[in-house]
């Protein structure tokens, strides 16, 4: 008659192998789970930072003069007309053009203070990106 089930030795080997496997993989599984949960949101935030940079830089590159027209507002002139608005106390930005506008909200990835005047072509604002803090200077022209 054919034997049914495991012998004690076989069971012990399986349990030992599973035990060793679990010991090695529990920490990485937790880490993997954490990464998968957090990375997508972080990726979206970083994309927003890149988008905001390109929007603002293009606006400044395409103009010759900058004027602070309000506590949260800049007007760019001399080239293509642009208006830059600071949203949600610096947690977002809106760039308006003659044909419409685009806005980016950073979701905590970046925050910047009100714009300060440096000269007719240059403004600056204190900017916090993650742990970094820098006086972000924007200048008209290429």
């Amino acid at each position: 008659m054919k034997k049914i089930g495991f012998t004690l030795i076989e069971l012990m080997i399986v349990v030992a192998v599973l035990g060793i496997t679990c010991t090695y993989f529990i920490a990485p599984i937790n880490q993997l789970h954490h990464w998968l949960k957090t990375d997508d949101a972080e990726m979206v935030r970083q994309q927003k930072l890149t988008e905001a940079f390109m929007l603002v830089r293009t606006a400044f590159y395409d103009s010759s003069f900058v004027e602070i027209t309000g506590p949260d507002e800049l007007k760019l002139s001399g080239g293509k007309w642009r208006r830059i608005l600071r949203l949600k106390s610096g947690e977002g930005i809106r760039v308006e053009t003659a044909g419409g506008g685009r806005q980016v909200v950073f979701d905590g990835a970046m925050r910047f203070s009100a714009f300060q005047f440096l000269d007719a072509k240059t403004v600056w604002c204190q900017t916090q990106i993650d742990s970094a803090r820098l006086p972000m200077v924007w200048r008209c022209g290429k």
């Binding site: 008659m1 054919k2 034997k3 049914i4 089930g5 495991f6 076989e10 080997i13 399986v14 192998v17 599973l18 496997t21 993989f25 990485p28 599984i29 993997l32 990464w35 998968l36 990375d39 972080e42 990726m43 970083q46 994309q47 930072l49 890149t50 940079f53 830089r57 440096l118 000269d119 072509k121 240059t122 600056w124 900017t127 990106i129 993650d130 742990s131 970094a132 803090r133 820098l134 006086p135 972000m136 200077v137 924007w138 200048r139």
Partner: protein
């Protein structure tokens, strides 16, 4: 009457071990992919940081230079100190051989150090000084 041979109940040791091995291989692959994604994300973060920091420095220096047409590396170093960045930024002036009219290039470098799981990189931004 011939009795039908009964089939063994459950899995054999070899089958269980093969399953565990396959699961381990699959998991190792998934872990590697997630690690690659993590590295890519770190790189995007550093790229963003470099973009903002070097653009800001360039603009600040250009604003200075255009105001009084002078430039000093020490001043650039002061501006760098003014930033709280997790990476080292340096400034140096270079005179390329093709510039025969006394102009210089200011080279701004942000150095991202090598870590356990990522190779270091240097981001460079150059400004032509009048």
């Amino acid at each position: 009457m011939k009795k039908k041979a009964s089939r063994a109940f459950g899995l054999s040791l070899i089958e269980v071990l093969v399953t565990v091995c396959l699961l381990s291989i699959l998991f190792t692959g998934a872990y590697g992919l997630a690690g690659t994604k993590k590295k890519a994300m770190r790189r995007i973060k550093e790229n963003n940081m470099a973009m903002y920091a070097l653009e800001s420095l360039r603009n600040r220096i250009l604003a200075d230079v255009m105001r009084d047409f002078t430039f000093d590396v020490k001043k650039a170093e002061l501006y760098i100190k003014d930033m709280y960045l997790p990476f080292t930024v340096t400034a140096e002036t270079v005179v390329p051989s093709e510039f025969r009219d006394g102009r210089k290039i200011l080279r701004l470098k942000m150095k991202v150090p090598t870590t356990n799981d990522a190779i270091g990189r240097i981001y460079v931004r150059e400004v032509v000084l009048p």
